[in-house]
């Protein structure tokens, strides 16, 4: 068994933060955690690759290229990165490399992270990541998990049950058809619960990141305000072909046109009763009231376009991307504040 094992300066024993800028170096010996893994594998030929945390984080593309060349030349059975536990820069580099190297070299790669490491959510769909404890105090257990997986990966095995193997899995969901209908499984689950058994769940409730409300606008009377909505209000011919939901795109339209001819607009959103908005689009995009407030001096200025998508059943990922794009556009337009109406 041949392993290429990536470590940072700290785990390689070179030094702490003061050595975080050292570049990539390969040594034909097992060092630190790599030696522990080799022991658990019952002996392995190891090339230890060492790189400082700062250097790797700041030159990730170059480090990836160099490591890919090294792996292609060495042809190991597997690449092991870290594990990085809850480390920030080290975790990101290990996870990024675990995602990238197999695609570039065809050699399987695995790392290990603590469940709260931010790199996990970024890379779990693309990288094999073993579940570890929070810190290096859990090194032995982490290496035990990785050592059990490495021969299976080296043999080209597809890990069917990632959780049982100590992996996080992609975090994704896949449909299957099972023998017993959901109603029967639910009643069984309840009877098990009532009997005091561990019954688990078929769907662990997801964790949403908390979105902190922004600070209040300091002086609304001098602010440029834009109107944004996920309620699907578009001109009658829907010129940009926005979808009724499952959206991937947004559009913007002139407020002047909406105010002058509200009857030329319609809501195409598929997730609420659009009748009232179609009767008066200002219920959704309150351009009428905001213009009054501008006239009264309570709001500085109304941005001349409003921004729209249809939020129904839109994946969080798409919503996040569209939100960032709209925010960029608003910043370019010098907008200070947004009224966002949702349905």
């Amino acid at each position: 068994m041949k392993i290429v094992h990536y470590l940072n300066q700290f785990f390689a024993g070179i030094g702490g933060e003061e050595k975080a800028d050292v570049g990539l170096e390969a040594r034909a010996e097992a060092i630190g955690p790599a030696r522990l893994l080799a022991q658990k594998l019952g002996g392995a030929s190891v090339v230890t690759v060492i790189c400082g945390d700062n250097y790797a984080a700041e030159h990730l593309d170059a480090v990836t290229d160099e490591l890919a060349r090294l792996v292609a030349a060495e042809q190991p059975d597997a690449v092991v990165l870290g594990p990085a536990f809850n480390a920030g820069r080290y975790g990101l580099v290990c996870a990024a490399l675990a995602a990238e190297l197999p695609a570039r070299t065809g050699v399987p790669a695995i790392t290990g992270l603590y469940e709260e490491n931010a790199a996990l959510e970024l890379y779990r769909s693309r990288a094999l990541i073993a579940r570890t404890g929070k810190s290096a105090a859990n090194m032995a257990a982490a290496m035990e998990t990785i050592a059990r997986l490495v021969p299976r990966l080296a043999a080209g095995e597809c890990i069917e049950d990632p959780a049982a193997a100590g992996l996080y899995g992609s975090g994704g969901r896949r449909n299957q058809v099972v023998e017993r209908p959901a109603a029967d499984r639910a009643v069984d689950m309840l009877l098990g619960l009532l009997a005091g058994e561990e019954v688990g769940t078929e769907l662990a409730v997801p964790e949403f990141e908390p979105i902190a409300p922004p600070a209040p606008v300091p002086n609304l009377g001098r602010a440029k305000v834009a109107l944004v909505t996920e309620g699907g209000l578009v001109p009658h011919d829907n010129p940009d072909g926005l979808t009724t939901g499952w959206s991937e795109r947004w559009a913007s339209y002139p407020v002047e046109e909406l105010v002058g001819h509200p009857e030329r607009f319609q809501a195409i959103h598929g997730g609420y009763d659009t009748e009232h908005v179609n009767r008066s689009p200002f219920r959704l995009v309150p351009a009428d009231v905001v213009r009054e407030m501008v006239a009264e001096g309570r709001i500085g200025e109304l941005h001349d376009r409003y921004y729209v998508t249809a939020g129904m059943a839109t994946p969080v990922r798409n919503a996040r991307a569209m939100g960032a794009q709209i925010a960029d556009e608003l910043k370019r337009q010098g907008v200070d504040a947004v009224i966002l109406t949702a349905t």
């Binding site: 969901r173 959901a182 109603a183 689950m189 009532l194 769940t201 609420y272 009748e275």
Partner: protein, 425 residues
Amino acid sequence: MLTRTTHPVREVAAGAAGYRDGRLSLDLDALTALVTDDPRIAAAHLAVVQPGERTRVLNVLDVFDARKKEDGPTYPGFDGPPVAAGSGRTHVLDGFQIVASGLLPTGEGGLMVARQAFIDYWGEGARWSPFAATPTLAVDVRLDPAIQDKAVADDAVRRALIRLSTAIGALAVDAADGADEQVPASWERPSAAAGGPPRVAYVYQIQSQGALLETFLYGADIAFMYPTLIEAAELLDGAMVSGNHGLQTNPTVHHTSNPVLRRLLAEERAGRLTLLPVVLMEGHHKSTPAKQRSAAHAVQLLRALRAEGAVFTQEGGGMSIVDQMLTIEGATAAGIRCVGITYEMAGEQGADTPLIYYSSAARHLVSTGNREERVTVDAAERVVGLDTGESTFGANLGGPLTVPLYALYCSTSQVGGTRVRAVAV
């Protein structure tokens, strides 16, 4: 006490009307006349569909079983006065269903439109469907195009289905092959003894949001209903009829043969639980306080029943999960063990967040699948229903299609009538 007499249908064919020894024979001309016996219905095309046939039924609106009450209305509030269901004898044909296909007026579009889903009776599509394995009378209803009122059009379809259900159910009333299932009312159950089987409730959350997304209890829609109690025997005896044509719908047959209730009753007969009255609630309240109020009252009912555990189901997409989660949260805080059934919206790749709302109290959930994962189905040899060429699923609905799972009618059945689930990978 309701006596539910089920007759096991083994064979369905067109012919002279009759039922004998598991063989159901349907007079399609007479049944067609029964459907069109309403000025709102311009025409109807009826066909018998067998499992395994390469047949696709488009634009499915509802599924009924065939049933007939010996004495009194079968669907109280529709084919007779809204008297309490749940007593006497009702004959049900087991292993047969009526599937309605039709296009209802869309009006201005938006939320209040009938979503179009189909049933494939063979191959990959059948694998995901809860209805593909049952012999079917498919009814393609063509409404008078002059009728643009959604509720009026929908009512015509519903009443036609009720006429069919009871007319076909009546064929078995005198048959001797029925098996009796007794469904007692709660006051007919023995008092729960201390140390006896656990007291279990079913929290039945349904959708009634307006025309085409509504549900009828004894003939009346239950929009904004306060949570209430109803006997399992009433639900299994025609008290509730669907008028819901959303993406996530519980068809009438899932009210009259609710899979969770059937299972709970079976476990009760086996001595493993005592079934309490059903907590019935609507799940589309339009404000947070309204949802909180509804959930809190449902929990009060569970406490009044001294429930030890409950199964929670829902109907409708999007915000229905909020009502379910709030109710589970309250019930859990009251010390009641909770299991929820939910569909998932995890995106085409299964990589997105599967629920739009959750409570960390919901520790025990059963999945009925990610409705957005794609399924590829072959071309059909026969298509029942009108293909306008404008479906979002494709220009030719009879052809090979790659569609989200929700295009396959009730594949993610929210009352657990499906064998589909999603798993973590």
